[in-house]
Symmetry: C2
Subunit: 340 residues, 2 copies
């Protein structure tokens, strides 16, 4: 275990792969490793890239990796696919090989999948990024499929979020939703050689103007640049790498970096605490109590919130105070919001 961390830090790829699998699987060993690596993290520039299926995201990420290599930066690519049950390094092999970066020791590729748990995916993506950061990768590209809330949450683990749009994907209104603009630090119109690319860029600029007008007077704000790329030929990719560097410099000089770090940390702290607490309570209540509650829920004998009260009581907690039942002297309450 100690050796695995030391070997990964020394640049041994097989050790890194095993360490990442360990971290994805969670557990005591993984936590020990992460605790050891903690002080070495915080150095990489983490860039999230998100966009709808068919937007050419994967090709753009591979090209971006090649661009960083030309700038002598090492790159790790974390490809997250919430819809796939498979994790590991192999899936992306062909794609990366195609772009000639796979044999390069300065590029490391890891694909990740949900394994059925949404909260788990955000947690494990975060942990995998910590390991890659500690192991010295200068730039970490997190690629997420789609632009749903999950992908948005995963993109939030990044310093810089790139949102890809393409012409001709139908319902442009969908793509201009406030949510997408809000998370974007850089907007990319990929497949810019296609008809309609200019219209997409114009629509994005108009949407940004609208957003700017509504947050009047925020002088230090970053306005997401709108870049055009053709990922298949590499057109515009160097400019994208430049824009990402400018964004990082902005984050550092404006104080937004610290704010973002604190927000990310608070979010991850809540996420991990939530899962840990549930596991503890389920373990303390025991499987029989849980099965009984589920059966009564399915029979409509009890509602969800009543069932949660009983679950906490079965785990030896006071459902209102969260303290051990019969120990804390607080009056009974059943309003969770009062504690929010």
């Amino acid at each position: 275990m100690t050796d695995l961390v030391a070997e990964a830090l020394a640049g041994r790829r097989r050790a890194l792969a095993r360490l990442l699998s360990l971290v994805e699987d969670d557990g005591a060993e993984a936590r020990e490793a992460l605790a050891r690596l903690c002080s070495r993290t915080g150095r990489a520039h983490v860039i999230g890239v998100t966009g709808a299926p068919g937007s050419g995201k994967s090709t753009l990420v591979a090209q971006l990796a090649a661009a960083y290599r030309r700038r002598e930066r090492t790159v790790a690519i974390v490809a997250v696919d919430p819809s796939s049950p498979f994790s590991g390094g192999a899936l992306l092999g062909d794609r990366i090989r195609m772009h000639g970066v796979s044999a390069d020791p300065g590029v490391y590729v890891r694909s990740m999948a949900s394994r059925g748990s949404l909260g788990g995916l955000a947690r494990s993506t975060w942990d995998v990024v910590q390991v890659l950061d500690a192991c010295g990768y200068d730039t970490i590209l997190i690629e997420t499929v789609g632009a749903g809330q999950t992908e948005v949450d995963i993109a939030r683990t990044a310093h810089t979020t790139v949102v890809i749009q393409v012409p001709g994907l139908g319902d442009e209104v969908q793509m201009l939703k406030a949510g997408i603009l809000e998370i974007a630090d850089i907007l990319v119109v990929n497949k810019a050689d296609r008809q309609g690319a200019e219209q997409v860029a114009v629509a994005l600029a108009a949407a940004l103007d609208l957003a700017d007008a509504s947050e009047a007077g925020d002088g230090a704000a970053w306005r997401p640049p709108i870049l055009k790329t053709v990922a298949t030929t590499g057109v515009g990719v160097a400019e994208l790498a430049d824009a990402a560097a400018r964004h990082l410099a902005f984050l550092r000089s404006s104080g937004a970096m610290e704010e973002r770090e604190q927000a990310r940390m608070a979010e991850r702290l809540r996420g991990v605490a939530r899962e840990r607490l549930l596991r503890l309570v389920l373990a303390n209540a025991g499987p029989a109590a849980i099965e009984g509650l589920v059966a009564r829920l399915a029979a409509r004998e009890i509602d969800l919130y009543g069932a949660v009260d009983e679950l906490l009581a079965a785990a030896g907690m006071d459902p209102a105070s969260g303290r051990r039942a019969g120990v804390a002297g607080e009056p009974q309450r059943r309003d969770d919001r009062a504690n929010g």
Copy 2:
């Protein structure tokens, strides 16, 4: 409050709208209402409809609602948009009006948004469906934008999940991912008058064959039918309503209904418990303790799992046992998985 529930049950739409807002906002009153409505739930057929932006999902849902009305069933439509910050009834007005169902007292439309919280959206969608079910809507259509994990999770609150595919949305491989096939009870190729529709249907059938072969011998299994629709003209919509009815009959006769109910209930129980526990612990630890932990996390002085240990301790819990610190006699452990 008592009046609101009684009025909603009596079919007063304004009372229903207010009750749904209450439930979306969470809190003690909402829980009281849900507890009262609990015994009246479990009667509606809940149908989830999901598909990528541009797949014609909204039009199909409106047409499906009209088809159910012709069969003299009342319909509630819950349109969930994880990327939008707005909830309420108004957004869908135009669309539904267009299809001539808005003036119909047998149709109720509600749009929902994330309000920034992913877990919250699954919770509130579930609760909104419970209210509509208790208020006597025969069919509840849950429409989700996109096909990310969030949408998949929301679709799981349904008995029957309809997944829409369309020709020409680019990367077909993306759409044939195991995840999408796994959640689909019915596959729809919408915009079937377009070029490439037959190829999409053939590809879906081939993917289903592959999936069938891998789960050899499961005699009682449901094979998702592949239907073609043109939502804009209504072609194929009656057949879709028929297929949904057949699926419900299958669930009931095969015993899968009970299984699905238990799985849904267990999932919701875990979801609500997770949020409640976090709120209790954050309240017990207090804001100063949390701010201190976040600052140390951002400074890399502590890792996430160590921070969670400290958070639980600050809330008066033993991080290993989940019991009140110093009360339980269990030995210290730091492996969450052992409790999973």
